[in-house]
Symmetry: none
Subunit: 401 residues, 2 copies
């Protein structure tokens, strides 16, 4: 269902919605015939909530598609993740917690090696240590071209997030990375008249960077790709009339929440308890809360089945705090699956629970993949969860007479 | 999800996928409260496979739509059967095993009766015996117009497949069949400038055919409709990077597989065992195998419940041979339902099983319509099965970062 159609039906209400996202929640059994991480976890509070809820499985992007964190979150936030794309440069910047401005242009950067003739010899500069990368980034940080300033934030090894800030910049730029060695890096070309200044400035920046990096072998040049500006999406306020807040510890998730116009709350700590305390403290100020749990995904990506189980159990222990706030609608779900046995994101549908006093309970007292497969929310596109949540929050008017 | 989007994500892998299609697999109970053909069949091997698989029901074209074999197969092959249409003439030619070339134009032909004034008196020439039809077709087979040759292959009674082959032909032609008697057959008109030669040649062919059929009452003329060229679809190689092979005994299915660019394997026999032996013999040469079982549909269309049950049991007995090849992904499904009680294709969703070591098993040890309705593959468009199969074969990269 399309957001414009939904927007027409939005009606004001005093209700509150909590969306609790356990990153990479969905899993797989460790051995044939076994249980998934969520099925293994001892979750008395989530199970009790499930018994009063409608259960289902969400498909983040499409059948068989493994989503990155960006598309996975956009989908559960209600945006079609194929229609609403976030550029790679922007995701890189969000991932290092860089506060992108609306006019900034971001890119993915690599330190690389070139020979005396300027020919690329190593696209990754021997995967130099992150610490070296940091020093070199600082060296380039002070370059100014015309009225534009530059930010370089190390990601890992040779990789850094690159941001340029100044008036009159636009994306629509080709990449400098030729994706192979034995040739010179490419100059950036403007793909639109609006991006001509940006192209000129990037090319001059790369020139300056080479001068400053001369003799810093193996990292004596840089490559830039995935140029993108912070995209303008319709906000939760505009779409749904929701004053929305985000509680998340990492830049990527705070960044995607900002795309939806959510206010990023200061957690004032780094634990799960701090996140739930933040929810409690800000309860009266907002209509919608997105609370992000990172540990489940990290454990899944590390292939640590037991740690993922424990992460889920830690969340379970905090469910009573959340329910004590008496939310009108609670969604517990994920942005994608991250089965420990795969050590990566995956395409598997994600267990989802929708609690509300107005929900038609399935009467299934278990929160798990197979339990959710039997639920009456069905197996649905993740982007359809928000309309259902809004309905249960009495925030959608009748369609037609 | 659209094929262009999917194509962007395709990644190479060494894995193998088998798609085993039991034609017309879905059924209905013989009596109220009874079991379907598949539920009745004794299928220990499929049941054991189901226990390790994700189950679901596929909807070939859309809810309530009964598919022909063409659209049913295109859908399970991953092509939107509404977007990718196969002309009726092409299906008629494929159905009689005619090896259509890329520049051929095919049509459905009828022998018909006209009076002395050329007015149509019987559109079906009294449904003349197929044998007579064959003799008359041979009589017309030798007509040549300009540089174009013609093929007429009897289908049944008055019906034949008509194909013209020669340079500069195009479809985009009106039909000669006025769909009623008491009027003269229509001349063919070109709907595009490219099809003018084809129109001229067809009209001259019909004229010649009338001369040769003079006195052969009741079949003293012909009607032609559904002119179509062999459509150009993106192939499995282009779309998915798959070297794909088809194992099928009948022209229609081999023809649709050719549309997807599959290589048609020589079965060297006419039994189900021959088909599975062909799979085994060609195992190392391909990434994807489509294996078609016809008997289930024939029994369904004949209204023979018990024979359909036995056909399913015969397939079940061969499942261990297939599994001994250690495929990475197996799909067992159908192109549509053909319940014996209806003696025809039907719109009912089709039981489908997706086996893979990476599948999230539903733990349902039964392969049947009602078992599949409870599976976590859900009730999904048939065209979404291929993306899920590709994902389980690790042939799709992550979308977004």
């Amino acid at each position: 269902m399309n957001l414009k159609f939904l927007q027409r039906l939005v009606a004001p209400a005093e209700t509150k919605i909590v969306m609790l996202i356990l990153d990479g929640l969905g899993g797989l059994p460790r051995e044939p015939g076994g249980l998934t991480e969520l099925e293994t976890a001892h979750t008395p509070n989530l199970d009790a909530l499930a018994a009063q809820s409608t259960l289902g499985l969400t498909i983040p992007v499409g059948p068989g598609i493994t989503p990155g964190s960006g598309p996975g979150h956009l989908a559960i936030f209600g945006y079609d993740p194929i229609e609403y794309e976030i550029g790679r440069g922007v995701l890189e910047a969000l991932g290092v917690d860089f506060e992108l401005g609306p006019d900034d242009i971001a890119a993915r950067g690599n330190f690389c090696s070139v020979d005396a003739g300027g020919v690329l010899t190593d696209r990754r500069a021997g995967r130099l240590p992150t610490e070296t990368s940091r020093e070199l980034a600082d060296l380039l940080r002070t370059i100014h071209i015309e009225d534009v300033e530059f930010f370089l934030v190390p990601v890992k090894e040779h990789r850094f997030a690159f941001v340029m800030r100044g008036p009159g910049l636009a994306d629509g730029l080709t990449e400098t990375d030729p994706q192979k060695t034995g040739v010179a890096p490419l100059p950036v070309r403007a793909l639109t008249p609006e991006s001509e200044k940006a192209a000129r400035v990037v090319n001059r920046f790369v020139e300056q960077a080479r001068l400053r990096l001369a003799g810093k072998q193996p990292a004596n040049s840089i490559l830039l790709r995935g140029f993108a500006g912070f995209p303008v999406f319709p906000t939760y306020e505009e779409l749904f009339g929701l004053r929305a807040a985000a509680i998340a510890l990492h830049g990527m998730y705070r960044g995607v929440a900002r795309l939806a116009g959510m206010q990023i709350l200061d957690v004032g700590g780094v634990t799960l308890e701090d996140e739930f305390t933040t929810l409690e403290k800000n309860w009266t100020g907002f209509d919608f809360f997105y609370l992000h749990v990172k540990k489940t995904d990290t454990a899944g990506e590390d292939g640590d089945f037991d740690r993922k189980v424990r992460a889920i159990e830690e969340v379970d222990a905090l469910i009573p705090c959340m329910m004590a706030l008496d939310p009108d609608v609670v969604i517990v779900g994920g942005d994608h699956s991250s089965p420990a046995v795969l050590k990566s994101h995956s395409w598997h549908p994600v267990p989802t629970l929708l609690y509300s006093k107005l929900a038609r309970p399935d009467g299934i007292p278990v929160f798990g993949e197979r339990a959710c497969a039997r639920g009456s929310l069905g197996i649905l596109p993740a982007k359809d969860v928000m309309p259902v949540a809004l309905a249960h929050a009495r925030r959608l008017a009748k369609y037609g007479a």
